[in-house]
Amino acid sequence: MSEQKKTFVVTRFDPDKDEKPRQQSYEVPVQPDWKVLDALNFIKDELDGSLSHRWSCRMAVCGSCGMMVNGKPSLTCKDALSNYGDRVEVTPLANFPVVRDLVVEMDGFMEKLKSVKPWIIVAKERAVEEGTYRQSPEELEYFKQFSMCINCMLCYSACPVVGNEPEFLGPAAIALGHRYNMDTRDEGAAERNEIFRGEGTVFACSYANECSEVCPKHVDPAAAVNQSKINAVIDWATSFVVPRGGK
């Protein structure tokens, strides 16, 4: 099999040694069916064991391997090298602090996810004798696509608001909260809508739609965020009429 070489220009950053991130080039012999991640693993295995990058499942379900490839957010286990020319630039996810090389600080993202209370909230727990929740296929469709998020954070990297407004909850967190708001088993929409109108406000979204453009799982977080605006407004308007505390 003929060998093709591509040049990978990769961000390197060791906080103990580097004042700021720098770029390092690697010549990688690539196979035609390789993804970007295969090349990065080759670099680490054969060329430079000091390179640090996150990856796990290699099949676009774990969300670990998100990076910027040629300036765009990419799930590197899914992104084919044949999409790129002879020079491939790999940098850490935009809008995130960088811990080392291609590894970004994720804790801020985890805090935002948790802040939307992503669990079924009920006023009173169902007793076992009452049986299971019943949910029709139609009711499942209200929220199913928003439950497909793999937390890869590509949407956060694409969003201009995330980079400029640190308090903004962001696409994945809002989509996750919306997933629960639209779940017929859940009774916590009022609580979440208050969070959606708080400091992390869904209204900071300027509908760039970039989050949905880059999402590898077709979650369409932009739809979730903008549906949440309507739900939040209705909740806000009805709060003047209906006392709080109900469903």
Binding site: N164, R197, A204, S206, V233
Partner: protein
């Protein structure tokens, strides 16, 4: 101020939404006819002669439409210019920029009301 802006956001967003929706539809006609077709002679100027323009504009529905034509695009404009400022890294100045822009739209709305009432 930031807290006030957060509290007012649902209202601002609703006005902005109508500014895009209704404002765009009304502006399309206004710009097409008043801004282009009449100045270019495609539509005769008599179509909006002083008498006819006043007759149309001073009707009840005319005043409502004119108010919407003036007022609603201002909210879309103010909101988007504010977001442009934020996009360019203007978070710290937002507490000044946002009230200025929304204040401008509010002023424009008040003047719009005066303008249609005095027709």
């Amino acid at each position: 101020m930031r807290h006030l802006l957060l509290k007012l956001e649902p209202v601002i967003w609703l006005l902005f939404g109508q500014g895009i929706m209704i404002g765009t539809m009304l502006l399309t006609a206004y710009l097409a006819i008043v801004g282009l077709a009449i100045p270019l002679g495609i539509v005769p100027a008599e179509a909006l002669s002083y008498d006819r323009a006043l007759h149309l504009g001073a009707s009840l529905i005319g005043r409502v439409v004119l108010f919407a034509l003036i007022a609603l695009p201002m909210w879309k404009g103010a909101h988007h210019v504010r977001h442009l400022s934020l996009d360019m890294g203007g978070l710290s100045r937002d507490v000044i920029v946002a009230p200025m822009l929304y204040g401008l739209a509010l002023l424009g709305n008040v003047l719009a009301l005066v303008a249609v009432v005095r027709l």
